[in-house]
């Protein structure tokens, strides 16, 4: 069936079964590869995107359930988000495979909580696995970005 989606501000038509996870529509239909597959069962966070500003696991979001919801993916942050600058400053990524999801979770955190505490970071980020163990740099980069984001926040 044909489904209309709004992704990063652009309307897209896709042909997919309604039960297809949004993740695979983004990847296999639209070839938007920034959003990653890691587990398929909402355990790793690699597939995190925003749906109307809320972080969701796209592997567990049937494309038919999205409706008129606005989807934002890592590509939608445009490379200029303060978190992305902070990620580079702290050399956060190792293999990098988890990092799109980490940044999308962090962006949603900062949008809701501009100055997150360690407990806020734990709560928002513990659903995002990093097998390379970049955790302490992720935490540092979020904290570093939080000052800057207070001015420019628009996740």
């Amino acid at each position: 069936m044909s489904i209309e989606l709004e992704i990063n501000g652009v309307k897209r038509q896709v042909a997919a079964e309604a039960d297809t996870p949004l993740l695979w529509v983004l990847r296999d239909e639209l070839h938007m590869t920034g959003t990653k597959y890691g587990c398929g069962v909402a355990q790793c966070g690699a597939c995190t995107v925003h749906l109307d500003g809320q972080p969701v696991r796209s592997c567990q979001t049937p494309v038919g359930s999205v409706g008129a919801g606005k989807i934002t993916t890592i590509e939608g942050l445009g490379g200029t988000h303060p978190l992305q600058a902070s990620w580079v400053k702290h050399d956060v990524p190792q293999c990098g495979y988890c990092q799109s999801g980490q940044i999308m979770s962090a962006a949603a955190l900062l949008a809701a909580t501009p100055k997150p505490t360690d407990a806020d970071i734990d709560a928002a980020m513990s659903g995002n696995l990093c097998r390379c163990g970049a955790y302490q740099r992720i935490r540092a980069a979020i904290k570093d970005a939080s000052g800057e984001l207070a001015v420019t926040a628009k996740a």
């Binding site: 079964e17 297809t20 996870p21 695979w24 990847r27 296999d28 239909e29 070839h31 590869t33 920034g34 959003t35 990653k36 597959y37 890691g38 587990c39 398929g40 069962v41 355990q43 790793c44 690699a46 993916t73 890592i74 590509e75 942050l77 490379g79 978190l83 992305q84 990620w87 580079v88 050399d91 956060v92 990524p93 190792q94 293999c95 990098g96 495979y97 988890c98 990092q99 799109s100 940044i103 970071i121 734990d122 709560a123 980020m125 513990s126 659903g127 995002n128 696995l129 990093c130 097998r131 390379c132 163990g133 970049a134 955790y135 302490q136 740099r137 992720i138 935490r139």
Partner: protein, 738 residues
């Protein structure tokens, strides 16, 4: 201990095979005997002749003078894109801010790992084996620019200087690399070049050496295998046997073929392939497939039964016919030494561990007749080329590989049987016409596909002398050998029936060097469960065993564990010198002695892959689970090229080891893995991660690796911290029982 240049190392681990043995191994696998060729000749046979340009296979220079370094290794997170390109930039005096780096194609003739003899990444060797090669390449290119400038300006070459990509002369003349490019390319490369004195380095060892790929990885632009989309590409998944060693008996694909998007269903050596348009259709097709499996030769035991067998083997009550005890360190006469009351007995159990890379295994293959191209996060280029060549019947070097980023490896991407690569090639061969096929493993496929860190059991008995220090040491290791599972690996890594990766870290331990009588032996039972190197390989079990045994000995002697180690390192002499230095540094920086509120410290020191790491952790049991809040690491890895990335590897290696020590295990029930995804295979999360502080020992020695050596020490310092709190030794992993 530095790696002897005439020896080869296998991807991630084993040491000690000669080139000659590697050739024999390669010939065995290739099924033909090639005498008088180097391994690179064999693995590179059939390689397309490529013109690498004036500056050789490692350096490309754009018209604007920007330098691109070709990385013959896999950048799988460990930061070698940064370290390797910094080596070139240093000797070349290039402008570091504009230096770029790319993965090189597979070509063993020019890109062989000089410590392996073939192209591959592992054993924390990327920097070590490239050190002189890339310095020479960089210095040679620099000399060519200097000569070009000297000729153009009619001044002596000795008076020409280079800094940040600018060539200049005291007369005021100056030019960019780009300006001189055409002339420099015509200069005959000098036969020998003078390398910098390390004290004159301006880039290496500084904070300026940072990752080159952080922006690409922070914006979703970095390209992994999973991200490959080619015109007309198909996606494949495979129904694998539920038990190791199982085979397809029969299958019914009627329903699978009716799933929209499914293109074809067919049997391959390892199962039944479902080929479709996209991952979701392929998975649905596989769900609709009915397969009957033949488990006649499959592993049917539970892991608990297998472990019970290991215990019986260690006690001498069971001797499977497929192996025999192999001594690996023997000193003095151990007869009758271990019967008295002055003997400490300790046993340890280690489970199977999955690598659980963030990106599950995958590979894009295109095959037309004997022509084959692979696009993926290649780590064991030459091994994979050889394995693919056998499927399509071609020369290894003719298998084209485009190397992408790997979403983690920890050893998994380079497997001795090239398992996922062979699967992709078989499927692409069936599809034919060079049509691209992306083999996708789901998390469940990846986690149940074996190639685990082997399960292991150690039984240790130490006779304690009057001074409280070891007088005699008996050590029995029971562990599967992955080297013995493959004739080629066996030829490279097994000597006198000892697979070095099963005992490294116990073999070579300074504690055994300090003990007058040693009887250490290993037994490697066979199972169809496949095993593989896993970040730091043998050290994943030998480090916790040696270090936790030392703490138990120290406690028994009522000597502080740091002091106890210092004394043993002194007794070990040269073999303990670097250990002593890192221990002292770690303890100085971490502090030592009692902490408040029930927190305790544990220490561990271990050498692996030529680097020595000491780790002091602060731990406490909270809500029934051990928590680590702070870890102080001291590392001696020779000359530190990229300090920031060394720290990153100590941080990441610590988390990886901590995750395994706390939670990691794959258990088998009647031969079937019980953990299939992150809901059952628990791994470390953000709220459980410690703060890691890294200190680097200044060194003038050539660089050694940092990708692995940070991992095993936390697996030992944490049990030591818990032991300090409770007085109860740890005897099995993981520490948090499911």
């Amino acid at each position: 201990m530095y790696i002897a240049p005439e020896k080869t190392r296998t991807p991630s681990g084993g040491q000690g095979a000669s080139r000659r043995e590697l050739i024999v191994g390669a010939a065995l696998v290739g099924g033909s005997l090639l005498v008088g060729c180097s391994p690179a000749d064999i693995m590179g046979a059939g390689a397309p002749k490529t013109d690498f340009g004036a500056f050789g296979p490692f350096i490309k220079i754009d018209a604007d003078g920007a330098v691109t370094v070709m990385n013959k290794h896999q950048e799988m997170g460990q930061g070698n894109h940064a370290g390797l390109s910094a080596i070139v930039a240093e000797e070349m005096d290039a402008d570091w801010s504009t230096v770029k780096v790319q993965h090189a194609a597979a070509n063993a003739k020019v890109y062989a790992n000089s410590l392996m003899g073939v192209q591959g990444t592992g054993g924390s060797t990327a920097i070590a084996n490239s050190w002189m090669q890339l310095r020479t390449a960089g210095a040679t290119a620099r000399a060519m620019f200097v000569q070009a400038a000297a000729d153009a300006w009619k001044v002596p070459a000795a008076e020409v200087t280079v800094k940040d990509g600018v060539v200049s002369h005291a007369s005021g003349k100056s030019a960019q690399f780009g300006d001189l490019l055409a002339d420099a390319a015509k200069v005959t490369p000098p036969k020998s070049v003078k390398l910098k004195d390390p004290k004159d380095f301006t880039l290496i060892g500084t904070e300026r050496v940072r990752r080159k790929d952080s922006l690409a990885k922070a914006t979703g632009q970095a390209r992994y295998t999973q991200d490959v989309y080619l015109p007309d590409m198909l996606t494949a998944v495979v129904a694998h046997a539920p038990r190791f060693g199982g085979k397809v008996k029969s299958f019914d694909d009627t329903a699978a073929r009716k799933v929209p998007g499914v293109v074809d269903v067919f049997a391959i050596a390892t199962g039944v392939a479902v080929v479709a348009n996209g991952v979701y259709a392929a998975r649905k097709g596989r769900e609709a497939l009915k397969v009957e499996w033949d488990d006649a030769k499959a592993e049917s035991r539970s892991s608990a039964e297998m472990l019970a067998d290991y215990h019986r083997i260690a006690r001498g009550e069971l001797t499977p016919s497929d192996d025999k005890w192999a001594p690996f360190t023997t000193k003095g006469d151990a007869t009758g030494q271990f019967d008295g009351t002055d003997v400490l007995h300790a046993t340890y159990d280690f489970p199977y561990l999955a690598h659980a890379t963030m990106e599950p295994m995958n590979c894009v293959a295109q095959v037309d007749g004997s022509k084959c191209k692979l696009t993926y996060g290649a780590q064991g280029h030459s091994l994979d080329q050889m394995a693919a060549a056998m499927v399509v019947v071609n020369l290894p070097g003719a298998i084209e590989i485009e190397t992408l980023f790997a979403g983690g490896s920890f050893g998994r991407r380079s497997s001795w049987d090239s398992d996922y690569v062979v699967e992709a090639v078989q499927i692409a061969k069936h599809v034919g016409r060079f049509r691209p096929v992306k083999l996708v493993w789901t998390r469940e496929d990846d986690m149940t596909a074996g190639h685990y860190r082997p399960m292991a059991h150690h039984a240790v008995a130490v006779k304690v002398g009057k001074d409280g220090y070891p007088a005699a040491w008996r050590h029995r290791v029971v562990v599967q050998s992955f080297a013995k599972a493959s004739p080629m690996m066996a030829s490279m890594m097994v000597k006198n029936n000892v697979d070095s990766t099963t005992v490294e870290g116990t073999a070579g331990s300074p504690y055994l060097a300090a003990t007058p009588v040693v009887d250490a032996q290993v037994f490697t039972p066979h199972s169809p469960v496949t095993t593989l190197w896993w970040r730091s390989v043998g050290a994943t079990h030998t480090a916790p065993v040696m270090e936790h045994t030392i703490d138990q000995l120290a406690a028994r002697a009522k000597i502080d564990p740091v002091e106890y180690r210092r004394e043993l390192y002194r007794r070990a002499g040269e073999a303990g010198a670097r250990h002593l230095a890192v221990l002292n540094l770690a303890v100085e920086k971490a502090g030592w002695g009692t902490l408040e509120d029930g927190w305790t410290r544990g220490v561990a020191v271990h050498e692996s892959f030529g680097s020595v790491v000491a780790n002091v952790c602060e731990a406490k049991v909270i809500d029934g689970e051990p928590r680590v809040r702070k870890v102080t690491v001291a590392v001696d890895c020779g000359i530190a090229i990229a300090p920031n990335q060394i720290a990153a590897q100590m941080e990441g290696g610590t988390c990886y080891g901590l995750s395994a020590a706390l939670f990691g295990q794959v258990t088998l029930d009647k031969g079937r893995p019980q953990q299939t995804n992150f809901d059952t295979y628990r791994v470390l999360r953000q709220n459980e991660a410690p703060q890691v502080e890294t200190w680097i020992v200044p060194s003038a020695h050539p660089p050694s690796g940092v990708g692995e050596p940070g991992t095993p020490v936390i697996m030992a310092s944490l049990p030591n911290a818990l032991f300090a709190a409770t007085g109860k030794p740890v005897s099995s992993f993981p520490l948090v029982k499911a």
